[in-house]
Symmetry: C2
Subunit: 345 residues, 2 copies
DNA sequence: TTGAAAGCGCTAACAC
DNA sequence: GTGTTAGCGCTTTCAA
């Protein structure tokens, strides 16, 4: 242990209580003593020990960020690192957003990844005495396990109905709807869907609902051979489009529920000598920066990952501060960005 | 505060010392008492408070991960989120790698981003009593500030000569060399370089050295008009290639020191109706998963971000454990991946 | 084999 | 306005 409050007290020739008062701006301290203490603090390079502070019942000023489905389950094996499903920039982006505001507000981020099991999350919360938790893309099993926890929890991209959680997200069903409708408006009728696994309360399920809604609105059938559920990765898109193309040669357009999959779709179509959008149109979801840099640039539903992180953090910090927060669920705006991957039929 | 050791002691009808012995596997405890205690622990859902543990001089089991140049400095402004320079997947990937092993070894990750100033890093280390620190792409100023810190520090991608730090990286000069040599071997002579800012002890500087070395070996001049330093981002590449093309119409090839910039280069070349590799060849650096999915697929120097994170974490954990570590600097292998973005002249 | 008690660094109630 | 002190939850020495 380094410099403690005792050392400062000795140096400034005051009691440790006085030092505590000064560094916490509490109690009435003379300007003179204040200055003495501050000088000692500076001279010794004193930094209060947060463990000790935490122990006397203060906040930990620690926010946990949990990313349950980050990377592959088997990534602990070194030999598998070539398949490391690392590529979705979403997680890095949102982490950056969360960390930035948290730091500004005096919180530190405890990063909790996906190897941790649902019941161990609770342990970490208890052990580290987290002030709050943000969960990105929470799975139902995880959430069930956490409902008895008494710290504020904000869920990003979850559609759970459990009322004890605050939520930040977008209207994924609407996103799926406008993406599909865009295709329909341009005359497409045989529209394939490539999405991640349809998990209960997950975003892909909602985007799928939007897809169905748009088709049903035009009295178009939902054909099973037009739908393919894959991993949310480039590989997923790569193999998904191949499968779909085999199952239905009439396909003129694809709605891909994630940009990362669209990368793989592009590659496969290139290999197959399909031209985008001449032979097949694509609408995607996310509007990651790189979509503009693809050739042709990708039409996609735009969401702000930055704002998702920012709003979730704001909400959590308010909750920690005990500020009454009126809305349990915050839905951020999205819009369709029309670029060059779609043609009129 | 929740369940404490006292509660467990009461429940098990033993002293708190005995509980402590049991949960730490210390002292000699009868199987019988052990069982009593364990049962009480389970019944009450007890989790030891790490702050308290830490206070009695134990390890904090916290590893800091510092990402100094993550995103834009001005990203605190909401209006700037469209420019959010978020897109380099490198940081998310390496974080994932570090977090995975750390968790497995019983450490938690404290994420420290780029808004934090150099002197504040020291405060966090002291306040949270970090057991160790990993710094990704450390700037000299930051490192100078940290040299007096007594916890183990592992630097990823830094070429500082300061001996108190352990380092994990690749041979960036060699990478720049083989990339450029590949181009030279195929007959290219006018080779442009698009790289990030040439910062002291940084990777771009080394890759640039490799570029120079390869050219000099063939008695080719290093032309200033062939070199462009930009931000390591898609935009950087986008504007960099435009500038280079204007400055020298004879260019037949580009060495881009980061895949993320190559994305921008592809876009600009597409807009300009340059064909890759027919009109211009490109060799890049990183081998991010998406490079294989670009069209044409990108020839690039491959490094394992996964291993960088993994080895750095292993090293740090050994250091924390007090295990003598022989090598101060670990250099991981790289190799050139030849794909379709380069043609023989 | 188990327990009592000191003490880690700090805050806050209370006394002066 | 400043100091004394109890106590946060835990580990560990020492005694029994």
């Amino acid at each position: 242990m380094g410099v403690t409050i005792k050392d400062v007290a000795k140096e400034a020739k005051v009691s440790i209580a006085t030092v505590s008062y000064v560094i916490n701006n509490k109690g009435n301290v003379t300007d003179e003593t204040q200055e003495k203490v501050l000088k000692a603090v500076k001279k010794l390079g004193y930094q209060p020990n947060l463990s000790a502070r935490n122990l006397v019942g203060q906040k930990s000023n620690l926010i946990g960020v949990l990313i349950p489905n980050w990377g592959n389950a088997d990534r602990l094996s070194e030999s598998s690192h070539d398949n490391f499903n690392f590529d979705n920039p979403f997680y890095g982006n949102i982490l950056n957003s969360i960390e930035t505001l948290s730091t500004k507000e005096g919180y530190s981020i405890l990063l909790i990844g996906s190897t941790i099991t649902a019941d161990k999350v609770k342990n970490v919360i208890l052990q580290r005495d987290l002030d709050g938790l943000i969960i990105i893309g929470a799975l139902p099993k995880l959430i069930d396990n956490l409902s008895e926890i008494k710290i504020p929890i904000v869920l990003i991209d979850s559609y759970t109905k459990q009322e004890e959680f605050y939520k930040v997200g977008i209207d994924d069903e609407y996103g799926g709807y406008i993406a599909t409708k865009h295709l329909l408006d341009l005359g497409h009728k045989e529209i394939g869907l490539i999405s991640g696994e349809l998990i209960e309360d997950g975003v892909d399920m909602e985007r799928f609902k939007g897809y169905k809604k748009a088709l049903l609105e035009r009295n178009l059938p939902i054909k099973e051979e037009n739908i393919c559920n894959v991993g949310v990765s480039m590989e997923g898109g790569y193999y998904g489009i191949e499968k779909l193309l085999k199952q239905n040669q009439q396909l003129t357009a694809i709605f891909s529920t994630a940009d990362i999959m669209s990368m793989g779709i592009y590659k496969k179509l290139n290999e197959l000598k399909y031209k985008i959008p001449e032979d097949i149109s694509i609408v995607s979801f996310d509007n990651f920066p790189y979509t503009e840099f693809l050739h042709p640039s990708l039409s996609t539903v735009s969401q702000s990952v930055f704002l998702k992180g920012r709003r979730a953090t704001e909400l959590l910090i308010d909750l920690i501060a005990g500020d009454r927060v009126d809305k349990q669920t915050l839905t951020l705006p999205i819009k369709l960005i029309k670029r060059d991957s779609v043609k009129r039929l």
